[in-house]
Amino acid sequence: MIGSRREAIIGRALLILLMAFTILPFVSLFTTALQPSGTYPPGLEWPAHPQWGNFTQAFKAAQMGRLLESSALIVAGVVPVSVLIATMAGFAIGHLRMPGSRLVFLLFLVGLTLPFEGVITPLYYEIQGMGLLNTQWAIILPLIGLFMPFSVYWMRAHFVTAPAELTDAARTDGVNTWQLFWRIHVPLARPAISSLTILLFLWTWNQFLLAIVLVDDPTKRTMAGALGAFQGQWGTNIPLLCAGSLIILVPTLLVFLAFQRHFVVALLQGSLKG
C-alpha cells in the first residue's frame, strides 16, 4: 500500500516535470510573441506592454487568410483520397492477400525508402508536362503518390491482424467482398484510419519542399511557407515570427483534438495486442 502510494507520487511528479518540459517552449513562444514587433527580446519574460496586435499583424503580413484557404484546399485534395486508396490497398494486401500481394507489398516497401528530395526533379518535369505547374494540383497529385508507400504499409499492418474468423463468418452470411470491406472491416479499422488521417494532415500541412519547387506563387502554397514573411536576408522579426508560429499551430491542434480519442485508442490497441 505504502509502496504504491510512493509510486503514485513519483509517477505524478515525473509527469508534471515532463509536462513542464513540453510546455515551456510554448510559453516562451507565447511571451515572445507579445513583445513589441521588430525587437530582439533577451529571453523568457512577460512584456511590460503585451502587444496583442502582433497576432493580427502577423496574420496580415504573411497573407495567412489566403494561405489558410490554399492549405485547406490542398489538405482536402490529399487526405481523403489518400486514406481511401490506402485503406483499400491495405485491405487487399493485408487481408485478402490477392495473388502477387507479397510482391506489391515489397514494391511499396521500396517506395518507403525513397526520399522526396530524390524524386523532385523528375516530378518537376512531369508536372510541367501536364501543364499543372503553379496550381495546387502540382502539390496535391504528387503528395497523394508520395504518401502511398507509408499509408499502405500502415493500413496493411492493421488488416494483417484483423481476425480471419470474422471474414469466414461474414462470408457464411453471404456478404460479397465489397460489403465485407465496407461494412465489417472499415468500422473496425477506425482507430488506424484516424491516426493515419492525423499524420497525413500534419505532413500535408507542413509540406514545404514540393510547395516551393512546384508552385511559384507563394499564396498558392501551404501554411508552412507563411513564416518566411518574417525572415529577411539579415534580420528576423522574432516577435512576429513567434506570433505567426502560434497561428499556424492552431489548425493542427484542432485537428488533433478532433481525432485525439481515436488516436489514443489506436496507440493503446497496439500496446494491448502486442
Partner: protein
C-alpha cells in the same frame, strides 16, 4: 523562446540544403533545353541597346497600362515602397509582386528565371546565373542612362566576364536598389563610461578602447560566431582592410587568376584577431551565439562594440535611440585610407523578361529620383546608388543612420569598397571560413593554418 526559433531555423537550414542539391540537378538538366536563353545572353555583342530616346518613361514603359512582374524577398519593405511610389508617379505601370524568403529565392533563382521570367527580381550570387544565360546584359542601359559614370566601385561586383568568371570586370548583369556597408557600431552609454569621446582614428586607438572596456568590466565586443555563419568574418575582414589595401582582397573574391588570401598582410590581420580572442575581448559563448542574439545583447547594452552593417542602422535608431554610434574600421597607419565591406542590394532583369526596358527605367529611377532616394534611406537605412553629387535626403543629425550614410560617402570617395570574403565561392563560407573561425576562437587553429586551409579549399572549389 530562442530554443524554439533556433530549432525552426535549423530545420529550415536542412531543407534549404536539400533543395540546393535538387536545384543544382534541375539546372543541370535544363541547360541543354534552354539554347534560346544562352543565345541571347551569351552573345554579349547584342545587349538591349535602347536609343537615347528610350530613356524617357513614355519610351521605356509606354503610356498604355502595363503590369510588371516582380519577384522580391520577404521581410524587407524598401522594394514595395519604391514600387508603390513609382506607380504614383507613372500611373500606367502596375506591379504584380511575388514575395519569397531570401533563402527560397536563392534556391529557386535559376528555375524561375528560366521558366517564369520576372521583369525584375531580387538576386542572390549571380555568377552561375550569368553562366547559364539567364540574366539580361545591362551594358546598353548603362551607357544610355549614364550608370557607367558613377563611382566604379558601386557596381563593380555586378560585372562579369564572359561565362560568369571572373567577377569585377566585363559586362554589367545586375543593378542595386541601394548599397549596404559595414563597419563598427558602438554603444555611446558604455563608451562614455570608459572615457571614449570620439571614434578611434587608428587600429592602435581601437585596441586601447578595447583594453579599457575590458578593465572596466564591460564586454568589449559582442560578435556572433555560431551556427552555419561565422560572424568573426566581419572583424577579420575589417582587420585585413586595416593592414592592407582592399584591391587584392577583391581580386581573391572575384576569382582573378593567381589571387590568394594567404598574404603577409592578411596573416597580420588574423594574428591581430587572435590577440583579441586571447585577451578575452569577445564573449565566452561567441561560438554558440547567433545573429539575433548578438543584436539582442547589443541593443540591451551588454557590449561596447559590434561589427555589423548599416542594414541595422534603422533598427538601432529605433531600439536604442541616440545610444548607438558608428565608425569605419580605422586604418593601421594614422591618416591611411578606409575600406569597408559593401555590397549593392542586387536586382536584375531576366534575359527573357517581357518589359526589360521598363524595368531598367525603374532601376535608373530608383537611383536618380529624389523621392526614391529618400525612400531608400528612410525605409532601408542604406546608401542610394548613383553619381557622387546626387541629392541626399535630410537625416536627423545624431542618428546612427546619419553616421552610416556619411561613412558611405567616405568609402565611395576613397574607392574603398570590398565584397565580402564569404562570397568568394558558393561554399567557401560554410565549408572553410565558418569552421576555421570557430576553431580559431576555440584555440584549435593557428592564424597561418586558417589562411592556408581557406586558400586550399578555395582552389579546390574553383578547380572542381
Amino acid at each position: 523562446m530562442s530554443v524554439q526559433v533556433r530549432a525552426r531555423r535549423r530545420h529550415g537550414g536542412a531543407l534549404v540544403v536539400a533543395v540546393l542539391g535538387i536545384l543544382a540537378a534541375a539546372t543541370a538538366c535544363s541547360a541543354p533545353g534552354a539554347p534560346q536563353a544562352q543565345g541571347t545572353a551569351g552573345s554579349s555583342a547584342a545587349p538591349a541597346t535602347p536609343a537615347a530616346a528610350a530613356t524617357s518613361a513614355a519610351a521605356a514603359c509606354g503610356t498604355a497600362p502595363v503590369t510588371m512582374d516582380a519577384y522580391i524577398e520577404t521581410g524587407f519593405q524598401v522594394p514595395n515602397s519604391l514600387m508603390a511610389e513609382f506607380t504614383r508617379q507613372y500611373p500606367n505601370v502596375k506591379w504584380n509582386i511575388r514575395q519569397d524568403q531570401f533563402a527560397v529565392i536563392t534556391q529557386n533563382a535559376p528555375r524561375v528565371l528560366a521558366s517564369d521570367p520576372p521583369d525584375i527580381m531580387r538576386l542572390p550570387s549571380i555568377s552561375d546565373l550569368v553562366k547559364d544565360g539567364l540574366l539580361k546584359n545591362l551594358d546598353g542601359y548603362a551607357t544610355a542612362y549614364g550608370w557607367d559614370k558613377w563611382p566604379s566601385s558601386e557596381l563593380v561586383q555586378l560585372r562579369l566576364g564572359p561565362g560568369g568568371r571572373p567577377r569585377g570586370e566585363g559586362s554589367l548583369y545586375a543593378m542595386g536598389l541601394n548599397y549596404s556597408m559595414t563597419g563598427v557600431f558602438y554603444n555611446k552609454k558604455l563608451a562614455a563610461r570608459i572615457g571614449m569621446t570620439s571614434a578611434p582614428a587608428t587600429l592602435a586607438g581601437l585596441d586601447q578602447d578595447l583594453a579599457k572596456a575590458k578593465q572596466a568590466g564591460i564586454t568589449p565586443i559582442v560578435q556572433f560566431n555560431g551556427g552555419a555563419t561565422g560572424g568573426f568574418a566581419f572583424p577579420l575582414q575589417d582587420l585585413m582592410a586595416s593592414y592592407g589595401p582592399p584591391g587584392p582582397i577583391n581580386d581573391w573574391i572575384f576569382n582573378k587568376p593567381g589571387a590568394t588570401i594567404d598574404t603577409p598582410a592578411n596573416l597580420q590581420a588574423v594574428q591581430h584577431l587572435t590577440q583579441w580572442i586571447k585577451a578575452g575581448y569577445f564573449e565566452a559563448d561567441a561560438n554558440a551565439m547567433d545573429y539575433p542574439t548578438m543584436i539582442s545583447r547589443f541593443t540591451h547594452n551588454s557590449g561596447l562594440f559590434t561589427f555589423d552593417g548599416d542594414w541595422e542602422s534603422g533598427n538601432f535608431d529605433k531600439l536604442m535611440p541616440g545610444q548607438a554610434g558608428f565608425f569605419l574600421m580605422p586604418p593601421a597607419q594614422a591618416g591611411g585610407p578606409h575600406a569597408a565591406m559593401s555590397a549593392p542590394l542586387t536586382y536584375g532583369i531576366a534575359a527573357k523578361a517581357k518589359h526589360a526596358d521598363c524595368a531598367a527605367f525603374f532601376l535608373n529611377w530608383v537611383a536618380t529620383n529624389p523621392v526614391a532616394r529618400t525612400i531608400d534611406v528612410q525605409v532601408g537605412g542604406s546608401h542610394p546608388l548613383g553619381a557622387t553629387g546626387a541629392s541626399m535626403p535630410a537625416i536627423k543629425p545624431g542618428t546612427v543612420t546619419a553616421q552610416t550614410l556619411a561613412a558611405g560617402s567616405v568609402i565611395s570617395k576613397e574607392n574603398g569598397s570590398m565584397d565580402f570574403i564569404a562570397n568568394a565561392t558558393g561554399a567557401i563560407y560554410a565549408s572553410a571560413w565558418t569552421p576555421e573561425l570557430q576553431k580559431l576562437f576555440a584555440g584549435k587553429e593557428t592564424p597561418s593554418g586558417l589562411l592556408s586551409t581557406v586558400q586550399s579549399d578555395y582552389k579546390q572549389e574553383l578547380g572542381g
